[in-house]
């Protein structure tokens, strides 16, 4: 989307590290955006239909901006990047790719993701890679609405009826191992920290466990303990859900990649 050539000259090591990080951020955004868009027209109440559609639209916008930064670093154009890569080439975490299941599941996933997303972009606004820092400062303002949405519902369900509390707790327990997978490291993490491109995954996970955990405890919900994270997504090892999603998301584009939209 930005057409201005803003990136400073970067060394090959910095460039590789930035590209690795940007693919994770962009792929998480486009895949979660697509998953949440599956609630459009199907939300349990009108306000939630609109909320999930809006958050989906936000995340697709974030993905477009992130893919544009990648394009400025010599990677494929945003549409080609999103619509022509294979499952193995995607670097999203498994959390975002999981099928939408029931609304409790999608809501809890969104809550866990938004809490991490806000922390991530808050810290990235200090990135030494200035184009990413600028974008992070912009996106951070939008993400506070996603966080408010998730926190409001955790509180409502935690203090609501027994059935609501039970369904949300069931979803929390099911989603949690995948949520921990958001913080899977890659081979570039040392370079990302060394060049001050972004925070370490463990730093983000500590903050996320602390801040997200407080929201759940305050709501009377239980944070699962001693959970083994589901890793693999950051290395391109995905379950069948991502392949199914991409088959649907990319089908029309792949019919004629050169067509003018």
């Amino acid at each position: 989307m930005p057409t201005e050539a803003v990136q400073p000259s970067v060394t090959p090591a910095v460039r590789s590290a930035v590209i690795d990080l940007l693919y994770r951020l962009a792929d998480d955004s486009v895949i979660l955006g697509h998953r949440n868009s599956e609630w459009t027209g199907l939300g349990p109440i009108l306000e939630e239909d609109i909320a999930f559609s809006s958050m989906a639209q936000d995340k697709l916008g974030h993905a477009q901006a992130l893919y544009t930064l990648l394009h400025e670093l010599g990677e494929p154009a945003p549409d080609a990047n999103a619509f022509l890569r294979t499952t193995e080439q995607y670097r999203c975490c498994e959390l975002v790719a999981l099928a939408r299941a029931d609304w409790a599941f999608s809501l809890v996933r969104q809550f866990f993701f938004s809490e991490a997303d806000r922390i991530r972009f808050e810290l990235l606004s200090q990135s030494a890679f200035e184009p990413l820092a600028q974008l992070a400062r912009k996106l951070h303002g939008e993400l506070k609405y996603h966080v408010m949405h998730g926190r409001m519902w955790m509180k409502r369900f935690g203090q609501g009826t027994a059935e609501g509390r039970e369904r949300i707790q069931t979803a929390i327990n099911a989603v949690y191992p995948h949520a921990l997978g958001m913080f899977e490291s890659t081979a570039q993490d040392e370079a990302i920290a060394a060049h001050r491109i972004g925070p370490s995954e463990s730093e983000m996970q500590d903050r996320w466990e602390n801040e997200g955990g407080t929201v759940l405890s305050d709501a009377g919900l239980t944070v699962p303990k001693n959970v083994k994270p589901v890793y693999g997504g950051r290395a391109g090892k995905h379950g069948p859900e991502l392949a199914a999603l991409l088959e649907s998301m990319q089908r029309v584009y792949r019919i004629d990649p050169n067509t003018q939209w």
């Binding site: 930005p2 803003v6 559609s53 974030h62 506070k144």
Partner: protein
């Protein structure tokens, strides 16, 4: 006055424009509106931090309201058309995130126009996650502040839905971001 202020507040690369060109281009930009809120111009929205010259091209720097706003492409096309119409053949729109757009960039005139359109203007943008601050909206119909936040998401990305407890009408607010 506003033109000079905008021009000096944010700096970009490239040469500066002659005074007469500056006035012509900003006047042209002041005719470009957001298609979803046609009463307010992109200048009043604070979406144009600066205009500059890059070789033969007139460059309009545009900072988007919401990254996912579907109106951006249309606005970009309308900027090119308006500036061309003012006599500048070679026009480019650079989408930038520096400065990041926030609702604090909307001018006072812009806020009045939002209200006349039936959209409550945003309060001061806050970086923190504060539902109470976002809930503060004066009813654009009766000016009451006895209002309730109904939904932080609305019919477009930039709008929240409130309810006025005095005139008992739902209304939309341009979100503080």
């Amino acid at each position: 006055m506003r033109l000079a202020e905008f021009h000096s507040r944010d700096h970009g690369p490239g040469d500066s424009l002659a005074q007469s060109d500056t006035a012509m281009i900003w006047a042209a930009l002041d005719t470009v509106t957001d298609p979803e809120i046609p009463v307010i111009s992109i200048v009043e929205m604070g979406m144009v931090p600066s205009v500059l010259v890059d070789g033969d091209a007139t460059v309009v720097r545009m900072t988007p309201t919401f990254a996912g706003c579907p109106a951006l492409d249309v606005i970009r096309q309308n900027i090119v058309a308006a500036v061309k119409n003012a006599g500048y053949e070679n026009v480019r729109v650079d989408v930038v995130f520096d400065p990041p757009w926030t609702s604090d960039r909307i001018t006072d005139v812009g806020r009045e126009k939002l209200k006349s359109f039936g959209l409550a203007p945003p309060g001061a943008a806050c970086g923190s996650i504060n539902e109470l601050r976002i809930a503060e909206a004066a009813c654009p119909l009766c000016d009451s502040t006895n209002t309730t936040l109904e939904s932080i998401f609305g019919p477009t990305l930039c709008r929240a839905i409130h309810y006025c407890n005095d005139c008992q009408q739902s209304f939309e607010q341009f979100k503080p971001v």
